[in-house]
Symmetry: C2
């Protein structure tokens, strides 16, 4: 199973594709998308780049964090717009979209729900056996979202098996 | 010039197409889109229905209200997602997207920025010479957004002319 994790943002959206192979996880690719221009143009550009990633890596699902709060109203509004773009980029291609709380995603990689971005980065590097820590931190957050979904899928497969 | 106005919402998105002909405005069509299902499915369904409207009515631009606040964080998050879907449905087809504050839109149809939805409904009915008031109120808010953009376009045309 191959999962595209997304850490959405208008200025920068982190993404990471992780493949689960017999209980081990492998990073297929990861990175971050930056957009420029006016607000509508940025959303369109983000959509196009995410659509290309979906076409290129053929994930089986999208995994994305739920949104509950932001540093302020305008940040929350922008984040929500970017998040909707990511959901559409996957949903319009028929991919199932899995949503997790920030705490579920952090717990999936660090074992606890209160970890910060740099701790997530260290643990994601370890879990995926990467030689270098993913940069920027948005990319490791996206990889963590993908790992979280693979954990649940693997758990559900064991329940059924 | 033909403008698609949108009043976005996850539960219900109002829409209205208005054509400006020599300083007079005509309502081409209006209505509201309701969606059901889980959150990602609703966004996908809203996108598909809005895309069909764009294809059917061939507007020259999208006019949409900016978002500044909501009754609570979760409403604001949902509204922002629906709004991003509307921007993409127009933007991906190459339509320019015009954003206005709620005050600018209310002032365009009622002459003042503090009008409520029912006052907007009455004035939109009058301005468009409709025999019946548009229902639901989301549709008249969407028509008001379209009128607001036509007002500005007409003003800019006079400045240039």
């Amino acid at each position: 199973m191959r999962v595209l994790g997304i850490d959405p943002g208008l200025a920068r959206t982190g993404w990471g594709v992780v493949e689960g192979q017999g209980g081990r996880y492998r990073a297929v690719a990861f990175g971050a998308i930056a957009t420029a221009g006016d607000f509508p143009s940025r959303l369109v550009e983000l959509y196009r780049q995410l659509s290309e990633l979906v076409a290129l890596h053929s994930p089986d699902a999208l995994s994305i964090e739920q949104v509950f709060k932001g540093p302020n109203v305008q940040s929350l509004v922008k984040l929500s717009h970017a998040r909707a773009v990511a959901i559409l980029a996957a949903g319009l291609k028929g991919l199932p979209v899995a949503e997790y709380t920030p705490m579920q995603i952090k717990r999936a990689v660090t074992g606890r729900g209160a970890a910060d971005k740099s701790q997530v980065n260290v643990l994601v590097t370890h879990l995926l056996g990467l030689h270098q820590a993913p940069k920027p931190l948005d990319a490791s957050d996206a990889l963590a979202a993908a790992i979280c979904h693979l954990n649940r899928a693997s758990f559900e497969a064991r329940l059924e098996g």
